[in-house]
């Protein structure tokens, strides 16, 4: 009964993928029609193409990048920056989050400064980081770090504060010392919050890397986009955006896979496994 109701409300998996593909194709066809002199005057199509690029040229550019191998070093740099910012930011947020959540004095002292640095628009730090760390990888990682750190920090802090007092008391009654409490209660609880923020934080690491490249660099996908923009090469700009999007989607898929693997203990939303 329930299964039937479900399949009525939502198409099956294969079907859904087909619809997704059709929707994407539809967008490209619409884009194509608007930028070619088929439906309206050549002048109007030319203007549209100036602002939005031509889909065939964009795809051709992507093909050239990958077939010619020019894109790989840039992608690799962006990937390294993203992963470094993500890893360092997550570890930093985890460590500081645990520390502040478990030490009321430190937390009370740091509170206004944490709030202030979180409220600050941190992208504006990019030029400062460029001055401090130069135009290489480090300045991009630093920018990504400031973005990722706070997301993870707040989630860990919340995770530790929301540990069920009953579970905590139970562990204490079973004889846990403070280190064992940290390892078996606080950390797993905080990790479940961290994982639910991973999608946001991996995206932020990516933003840090690309924005950093865009503001000043010699390599990376952000650099490619900046170069193309300098010569009004709108097709290359769009090609860069498409590559970045696909790349971000791939990262997100990896995060989902890791999450599903590590959080098997958490009940999935709205469904429980029948015994």
């Amino acid at each position: 009964m329930r299964k039937a109701a479900k399949s009525e409300a939502r198409p099956g998996r294969g079907r859904l993928a087909l619809y997704h593909a059709l929707l994407l194709a539809g967008v490209f066809v619409f884009w194509y029609l608007m930028t070619e002199p088929l439906l309206w005057s050549e002048e109007a199509a030319r203007r549209t193409a100036f602002f939005f690029g031509k889909p065939l040229m964009v795809l051709q550019q992507i093909w050239e990048w990958f077939a010619g191998g020019k894109i790989y070093e840039h992608l690799l740099i962006t990937l390294i920056e993203t992963l470094l910012a993500f890893a360092i930011g997550t570890l930093g947020g985890l460590g500081v989050g645990l520390w502040l959540a478990l030490s009321p004095l430190a937390s009370a002292l740091a509170d206004p400064y944490i709030k202030a640095s979180n409220a600050m628009p941190r992208v504006i730090l990019a030029p400062i980081f460029a001055v401090w760390f130069g135009l290489g990888i480090v300045s991009k990682v630093a920018l990504g770090f400031t973005l990722v750190f706070f997301i993870v920090f707040f989630n860990v802090y919340q995770g530790v504060k929301e540990v069920s007092p009953v579970v905590l008391n139970n562990a204490r009654m079973l004889g846990a010392n403070s280190r064992q409490l940290l390892r078996t209660v606080y950390l797993p609880s905080a990790m479940s919050w961290v994982f639910s923020s991973l999608h946001t934080s991996v995206g932020m690491a990516f933003v840090g890397a690309v924005v950093g490249e865009y503001l000043g660099s010699a390599r990376g996908v952000g650099y490619l986009i900046l170069q193309a923009e300098g010569t009004f090469d709108i097709n290359t700009v769009f090609a860069g955006i498409l590559v970045l999007t696909a790349f971000a989607l791939a990262l997100d898929t990896v995060v989902t896979a890791v999450e599903n693997r590590l959080l098997v203990w958490r009940p999935a939303q709205g469904e429980t496994e029948p015994l």
Binding site: V166, N169, N170, M173, L174, T184, P188, S189
Partner: protein, 273 residues
Amino acid sequence: MSFPLPTAPALALSNVTVTFVAQGGGSTYTAVRDTTLIVGEGEFVSVVGPTGCGKSTLLNIAAGLLESSAGSVRVQGEPLAGINRHAGYMFQSDALLPWLSALGNVELGLKYRGVEPGAAREQAMAWLARVGLSGHAGRYPHQLSGGMKKRVALAQMLILDPKILLMDEPFSALDIQTRQLMENELLELWSADRKSVVFITHDLEEAIALSDRVVVLSAGPAAHPMGDYVIDLPRPRDVAEVRLTPRFVELHTGIWHTMKDEVLKGYAQSRQK
């Protein structure tokens, strides 16, 4: 006094008072006042009382999770400082670690004590078998039914072989059939090695069916014991059948007579709030 007498009770709360101060000072709330509760070696004592009368507070004092404002707590003659290492605690709500499997939860206490992993696993599997959950060792708490979770919690507590069991309405969330099954299981496990038990409940029938002694608490605030009844029903008991015996009905009538006024008082107070 530093030499505990051989007859020292397993647990002795003497003139315990617990007062909570609202955050920021100002108003205070006395949950338990001047309460004395002695639990002998191997004795099964139930504490009953209306909802919100400070039964759980009393248990937390005995567990060392909470410090009393006045009075003393002695465990086998020794004054209690910090967590009560001789006691196992079974909580009212879900207290299993949700990120550990049933097996992981049962072996947790042994791991805390530094028992070698292989041995801990073996013992935990044996305990899971004793509570009838061998086939569910790998399941996580959210995949278990309410009764199964209680069994895991029971095994988690008993694997450490505590001398005193503190149980805070452990079966109140279960349906009546599952509850009676669990009560019989508890009695069976208990009769194997006669630990001292403090069993908190608001259900007088459950208290009589399980215990050697029933202590009735008055309605809060400032709850205190107002009745102490020896239950002389023969053991072994079946909790479902024992309820039908004339002696049970007699005991129940007697205790209920004292309790009724307090329950009504507690009810009136909860309505005023």
